[in-house]
C-alpha cells in the first residue's frame, strides 16, 4: 500500500518539470571586460508568453542566445524543455524556433525559396506547410519577391515566419519590433498573440514596455545582467503601490514628504522638476491633493493623472527610464 502511494515530492517534481519550458539557474556570462549576465535565475512556463524587459545592454540578448544554444554560458545551468544544450543540442534545435535581432537573410532568394530552404532543415513530418505560413504571416503577396526588396516590416515577418517553420515548442523572439513603424508593430503583435493562443511558448526580449504589457503573461525585468523584478505586468505595477500615477509640478517646489501622507497616495518621489505620486484611487486622491495644495497656498503648473506602466516600475526600481539611449 505504501509502495503504491507515491509521496508528494516525487509526483510534484515531474509535474512541475512538465509545465516548465525553460529553467535557468545561476547564469553568468562574462566577456573579456564586460559582465553581460551576472547571476540570473528564471523559469518560463509552457504555453506562456514570457518577456525579458530591460534597457539596451541589460544582457537580454546574451541571455536569450544562451537559451538558444548559440552562446555558451560562463557558468550556471540552462535547461530547455527539460534538456541541456551540451547533451541534446540536435534535438533541441529541432524543437525551438529563433528570430534573432536583425538577421540579414539571403538577399537574392525569394520569400518562398527562403521558407522552403529553412523548411528543408527540419523534419518534414513536423515542419509546417509553406503555404500556411505564408498566409499566417501575411506574406502570400510577397512570395515571389527577393528578400532585398522587402520593407522592414515584411522582413521582420519573414524572420518570424522562419522561426515558426519547424513548428517549434518554444519560440524565441529577440526585439521583434525594434525599428518597425507602428502599423507593422501592431501586425506583428497580432501574429505573436495568435502563436501564443495556439499554445506555443514564446520568449521575447524588448525594451518597449507597451509591447511587454500587451503581449506577455509574465515579465522579467533585467538590468546590468541581473533580475530586478519578475511577475505578471499587473503584479509588477501593483508592486510600486498603485495602478495610477500623478505627475505634479507646482509654482513653489514641494518635497515628497509634503504630499506623501495625503489620502490615497501610496508613495511619492521626485521626478524631473516635480513629483511622481503612486495612487490607488484617483477619485479619492485628487480632491485630497488639491486640498493639500490649497492649504499650502501652492498652485499646480502641471498635473497629469495616468495609468502606471512597466516603465514606471523600471523607473521606481532603478531610478532610470527604460530608454535612456
Amino acid at each position: 500500500m505504501n509502495a503504491s502511494a507515491p509521496d508528494a515530492a516525487s509526483t510534484d517534481a515531474p509535474a512541475r518539470g512538465a509545465d516548465r519550458a525553460i529553467r535557468i539557474k545561476g547564469l553568468v556570462k562574462k566577456y573579456a571586460d564586460v559582465m553581460a549576465v551576472a547571476g540570473l535565475d528564471l523559469e518560463v512556463h509552457r504555453g506562456e508568453c514570457f518577456g525579458l524587459l530591460g534597457p539596451n545592454g541589460a544582457g537580454k540578448t546574451t541571455t536569450v542566445e544562451i537559451m538558444e544554444g548559440l552562446t555558451a554560458p560562463t557558468s550556471g545551468e540552462v535547461e530547455v524543455l527539460g534538456k541541456r544544450w551540451d547533451q541534446h543540442a540536435d534535438e533541441l534545435r529541432a524543437r525551438i524556433g529563433v528570430t534573432l535581432q536583425e538577421t540579414k537573410l539571403f538577399e537574392k532568394l525569394t520569400v518562398e525559396e527562403t521558407l522552403r530552404l529553412f523548411r528543408s532543415f527540419y523534419d518534414p513530418a513536423r515542419a509546417l506547410d509553406v503555404e500556411a505560413v505564408l498566409r499566417d504571416m501575411q506574406l502570400t503577396e510577397k512570395r515571389g519577391a527577393w528578400v532585398q526588396r522587402l520593407s522592414g516590416g515584411q522582413r521582420q515577418r519573414l524572420a518570424v515566419a522562419l522561426g515558426v517553420m519547424g513548428d517549434p515548442d518554444v519560440l524565441f523572439l529577440d526585439e521583434p519590433t525594434t525599428g518597425l513603424d507602428p502599423q507593422s508593430r501592431r501586425a506583428l503583435w497580432d501574429t505573436i498573440s495568435a502563436l501564443r493562443a495556439r499554445g506555443k511558448t514564446v520568449v521575447l526580449t524588448t525594451h518597449y514596455m507597451d509591447e511587454a504589457e500587451r503581449l506577455c503573461d509574465r515579465v522579467a525585468i533585467v538590468d546590468h545582467g541581473k533580475l530586478i523584478a519578475i511577475g505578471t505586468p499587473s503584479e509588477l505595477i501593483d508592486g510600486i503601490g498603485g495602478h495610477h500615477l500623478i505627475e505634479l509640478e507646482t509654482d513653489r517646489p514641494l518635497a515628497p514628504e509634503d504630499v506623501a501622507d495625503v489620502a490615497g497616495v501610496r508613495s511619492a518621489r521626485r521626478a524631473g522638476d516635480g513629483l511622481a505620486l503612486s495612487i490607488t484611487e484617483p477619485h479619492v486622491a485628487l480632491p485630497a491633493l488639491f486640498a493639500r495644495l490649497g492649504a499650502r497656498a501652492t498652485r499646480p503648473t502641471r498635473l497629469v493623472s495616468r495609468v502606471a506602466t512597466l516603465d514606471d516600475v523600471f523607473l521606481s526600481l532603478t531610478g532610470r527610464t527604460l530608454r535612456e539611449d
Binding site: 548559440l70 540536435d90 529563433v98 534573432l100 540579414k104 530552404l117 528543408s120 527540419y122 522562419l162 519547424g166
Partner: protein, 337 residues
C-alpha cells in the same frame, strides 16, 4: 543537399570568374606574342660616316637603325629603347666604339650582328658558306606556357573568394548564427559552397581553353579529361584554404586581407606569369609543396607536354594533403557566431 545548391545563386561575379582571366590572357598574349624574329634597336651616333653605316646595317632585317646625336643616343640606351649605340670615327679606318649593357642578352646579339655587317661592308669575306633552317617548337611559346598557369590562378582565386568571402559575409550578417540555430547539418552547409564552386569549374576550364585556342592557337597536348579532372581536384583542394580563411574572420576586411595573404605570394612564387625556376634552388622544393605550385606543375605537364595524369603522383599528393589538412584545421577553428 540538392536544395542547398540554392546558395550558388550568385550574380555579378560572372565577370571576375570568366571575363577577367580572358582579359589577362589577351593582354599578356599580345604583349608577348611572337611577331616573327625580333628586331633589335640600334642607335648610330650622328657623324660624317653615320649615313654610310646606317645603309650597311639596314641590310640586316633584324636591326632597326636610327641616327641620333650622341646625347640622345645615350639617353635611349639608358631608357632601354636602344640595345646598342654605334659610334664611328671620321675616316674609314678609324676605330668603331660599341656601347651596350653586357647583362642584356639581346645587346650581345646586336653587337655581333652590327660588327658582322660593318666588317663585311669594309671588305671582309665569309670563308665558310652557311644557311639557316628555323623551326618553332610546338607548345613552346610563352602563351602556351602561360595559359595553364592562368587557369591555376583563376581556380585558386575562385575557390578562395567563393568560399571565404561568402561565409564571412554570412557571418557578418548574422546569417551563420541564424542557420546555426536550426537543425541544419552544419557540414552540409559548408560543403554546399565547395560543391557550388566545383559546378563552375568545368565551364571555366572550357571557356579559357577554347578562347586560348581560337585566339592564340594554344593546344592541349594531354587528355582533356585529365585537364578537367585535375582542375576539379585542384579547385576542391584550394577550397580547403578558402574554408580556413573563413574559419574565424569576423568581417569581410579581415577575410580580404587573409585571402590576399594566401594568394599573392603564391601568384609570385608558383610560376603563373614567369617561370618559378628563376627563384633560387633552395626555394624550389617549397614551391613544389605549395598548392598552386603543385597544381601548375601537374597542369603544365598535362597541357604542354601531353603527360598522363597518372604520372603526376607527387603534385596530386601535395594537393590532397593540403585539402585534408586545411579542411580539418578549418573545421576545428570554425565559428558560427
Amino acid at each position: 543537399m540538392a536544395r542547398i545548391r540554392e546558395f550558388a545563386r550568385e550574380r555579378g561575379a560572372v565577370f571576375w570568374t570568366f571575363g577577367f582571366p580572358l582579359l589577362i590572357t589577351v593582354a599578356l598574349g599580345i604583349a608577348f606574342r611572337n611577331p616573327g624574329p625580333p628586331r633589335l634597336a640600334v642607335a648610330v651616333v650622328d657623324g660624317p660616316r653615320a649615313a654610310e653605316v646606317q645603309r650597311a646595317l639596314e641590310a640586316d632585317p633584324g636591326l632597326e637603325v636610327t641616327v641620333l646625336p650622341a646625347a640622345q643616343a645615350a639617353a635611349r640606351l639608358r631608357a632601354v629603347a636602344a640595345v646598342l649605340v654605334v659610334e664611328t670615327g671620321a675616316g674609314a679606318g678609324d676605330k668603331v666604339i660599341y656601347r651596350f649593357d653586357p647583362s642584356r642578352p639581346e645587346a650581345l646579339g646586336a653587337r655581333r650582328a652590327v660588327d658582322d655587317r660593318l666588317q663585311r661592308a669594309a671588305g671582309r669575306a665569309d670563308v665558310v658558306p652557311t644557311t639557316d633552317a628555323t623551326a618553332v617548337a610546338q607548345g613552346g611559346r610563352y602563351i602556351d606556357w602561360l595559359v595553364p598557369g592562368l587557369l591555376g590562378m583563376q581556380l585558386l582565386s575562385g575557390a578562395l573568394w567563393g568560399n571565404a568571402w561568402n561565409i564571412v559575409t554570412a557571418r557578418q550578417r548574422r546569417l551563420l548564427k541564424r542557420l546555426a540555430a536550426t537543425p541544419m547539418r552544419r557540414a552540409h552547409y559548408l560543403m554546399s559552397f565547395r560543391l557550388a564552386g566545383l559546378l563552375f569549374v568545368p565551364l571555366q576550364v572550357l571557356v579559357l581553353f577554347v578562347f586560348a585556342r581560337l585566339t592564340f592557337g594554344v593546344h592541349v597536348h594531354g587528355s582533356p579529361v585529365a585537364v578537367l579532372a585535375l582542375s576539379i581536384f585542384g579547385s576542391w583542394s584550394f577550397a580547403g584554404l578558402g574554408l580556413l580563411c573563413a574559419a574565424r574572420a569576423q568581417n569581410s576586411e579581415t577575410a580580404n586581407g587573409l585571402i590576399n595573404l594566401v594568394t599573392l605570394p603564391m601568384y609570385m612564387l608558383c610560376g603563373v606569369f614567369f617561370s618559378s625556376s628563376r627563384f633560387p634552388a633552395a626555394v624550389q622544393p617549397v614551391i613544389r609543396l605549395l598548392p598552386l605550385g603543385a597544381f601548375n606543375e601537374a597542369m603544365r605537364h598535362v597541357v604542354n607536354d601531353g603527360a598522363s595524369i597518372c604520372a603526376q603522383g607527387f603534385p596530386l599528393a601535395v594537393l590532397l594533403a593540403w585539402a585534408v589538412v586545411s579542411s580539418t584545421v578549418a573545421l576545428r577553428l570554425f565559428r558560427w557566431t
